[in-house]
């Protein structure tokens, strides 16, 4: 069963069309990441899913409910981490968590929440005395207070130092092991690559591509890069590489450009065969670099390939 199903979703503010037929789905238990440049419609999409905005047209189902028809019922089963959301400053950590738990029909245990976000030692600290990282973890604890099935995370690690970032990632991975569905928006592509089972890139109010990171990379047409240090004989021009491999030599480095993601292993086998046939021994610094999500994203979004 899918946790989220969106089809032909449109949204206009007056004459301005922000979403122009968005379709995607998120399976239960999946970590799904929505990517896209600023102004692409990510926030609008998420706010429609959370029941904060009324869509112009299209069908939206979240946990089997229509968010705009049953916002309160839905909010009992979702958790939302928003960007830059304040706390009552004089409240203590545990007090605030207990207060939030009282809003939900079947909350998660307080001790459980405190340990998930590693705030056990600070449970009696007033919120105003917490550090930035601790506050972000409290954000997560409050979003999890109702033991939600689906969690929305809006740029959860913006402004984090590397250590806090790693901790937050661990907490999100922990949610996945608990079988929770997570919808993540982020600007950090490494974050999406590390956490997401599937990603979707939203651009100009439409989903440009959706799927696993591999799938997105393939769609973007970014090749796998095979490179090695060019042997002396190759540099001297005594040897030629089979034309099919399309090897380009620049100074000491040789890059095999033909290898698309699908045929990287074929290209590699061919390269090594050529290498053996010509008695080149080991190729120095041989590396196979699969395209990152960042490469694919930049190709799709900034590169202009519609």
């Amino acid at each position: 069963m899918n946790a989220i199903e969106v089809s032909a979703l449109t949204m206009s503010y007056g004459d301005r069309e922000v979403l122009r037929g968005v379709d995607f789905e998120v399976a239960s238990g999946e970590v799904f990441c929505l990517l896209g440049p600023n102004g692409a419609g990510k926030t609008t999409t998420v706010e429609i899913l959370e029941g904060f905005r009324q869509r112009t047209s299209g069908t939206v189902t979240v946990l089997g409910m229509d968010p705009q028809a049953q916002p309160t019922k839905l909010r009992e089963r979702i958790g939302i981490v928003l960007q830059e959301c304040g706390f009552p400053r004089q409240a203590r950590v545990k007090e605030l968590i207990d207060c939030w738990r009282s809003y939900y029909p079947s909350p998660r245990a307080t001790s459980d929440l405190l340990s998930v976000v590693e705030l056990n030692e600070d449970k009696n600290t007033q919120v105003r005395k917490l550090s930035g990282g601790q506050r972000r973890r409290l954000d997560l604890a409050l979003a999890l207070a109702g033991d939600p099935d689906l969690i929305f995370l809006d740029e959860p690690t913006t402004g984090f130092d590397p250590e806090s970032r790693r901790r937050c990632w661990e907490a999100i991975e922990n949610l996945r092991t608990l079988g929770k569905t997570v919808l993540l928006t982020t600007h950090y592509l490494d974050e999406a690559e590390r956490l997401a089972d599937r990603v979707a890139i939203l651009r100009d109010g439409q989903i440009q591509v959706a799927g696993t990171v591999r799938h997105v990379a393939r769609q973007a047409g970014v090749p796998t890069r095979i490179s090695f240090t060019a042997p002396q004989r190759l540099r001297d021009g005594d040897l030629t590489v089979p034309a099919g491999l399309n090897v380009k030599v620049t100074g000491e480095q040789a890059v095999c450009l033909s290898a698309c993601t699908a045929s990287a292993s074929v290209a590699l086998r061919e390269l090594l065969t050529w290498c053996a046939e010509n008695d080149l021994g080991d190729l120095d610094d041989l590396s196979v670099i699969t395209p990152t999500l960042e490469d694919a994203y930049l190709q799709l979004v900034a590169g202009g390939a519609r």
Partner: protein
């Protein structure tokens, strides 16, 4: 329904805890009406008001009770909600299934508790220092006035927080809107006289209406206006309508 009441009560308790924890905030919420009570009260001449048989303090003390209600329910609640909105606390509340009615009722409940505590202090000081003690038969008027006053000025406070464009502007707007009216309503000086037309305007504003209801609890006033509770109710309705129209969670 009972769930909303339970949630509202919990929220009120939470608000009270955090209110008293911010000692400075709590102290000055109390300090303003109490300081004015002592300062103005001790300089007001004892004796009957000119042309009446009414002891001046019997009017002044309940007027300051009304002032305390306004400070706690209108100024502080309005500024607090504006700050909570600015800080994104209201937005966060909105992400939970807590019904808006339960949240606002809780906040208002907490405001009522604070108001009650301020009122108790004013009545105690009024009694011990200025010998102004409410009549036994006037207690229903005082209780009724407090309830109407908290609800009316609370609603206006919520409206104020909705009207203020920023958290910073809420307090200045609150002060600029109630203080001149309070002075013209004779809150600080029962003998303060204003032109007839202005008096007519002040009569339909909620400040004097609340003060007069509370005065009834101290001394039977001949010019008692039956319209006062209705003035408060009308302003309550106006405050609620404006809040319903303009209240924002973020």
């Amino acid at each position: 329904m009972s769930r909303v009441v339970t949630l509202a009560a919990r929220q009120a308790l939470m608000e009270q805890r955090t209110f008293w924890r911010s000692a400075e905030y709590a102290l000055f919420t109390f300090a303003l009406p109490l300081a004015l009570l002592l300062l103005i009260g001790s300089t007001t001449a004892n004796g009957d008001l000119p042309g009446t048989h009414v002891e001046g303090q019997m009017i002044f003390v309940p007027s300051i009770i009304a002032f305390g209600v306004i400070v706690a329910a209108y100024v502080n609640l309005g500024a607090k909600l504006a700050t909570l909105r600015h800080d994104g606390v209201l937005k966060r509340i909105r992400t939970t299934p807590l019904p808006a009615s339960a949240y606002l009722a809780g906040v208002l409940g907490s405001t009522a508790a604070t108001t009650l505590a301020i009122t108790a202090c004013i009545m105690a000081i009024g009694g011990f220092v200025f010998h102004a003690v409410p009549r036994a038969s006037g207690l229903p008027e005082i209780a009724g006035g407090l309830i109407l006053g908290v609800v009316c000025f609370g609603a206006l406070g919520v409206a104020l927080s909705s009207a203020a464009r920023s958290a910073e502007s809420a307090a200045p707007i609150a002060n600029a809107s109630y203080l001149p009216i309070a002075i013209m309503s004779g809150i600080f000086d029962p003998t303060f006289s204003v032109p007839r037309w202005l008096s007519a305007v002040v009569a339909v504003l909620p400040v004097r209406a609340l003060a007069q209801i509370l005065e009834q609890g101290y001394t039977p006033v001949e010019h008692a206006s039956l319209a006062d509770p209705f003035v408060l109710l009308a302003w309550t309705a106006a405050g609620c309508a404006f809040a319903a129209w303009r209240f924002r969670w973020h």
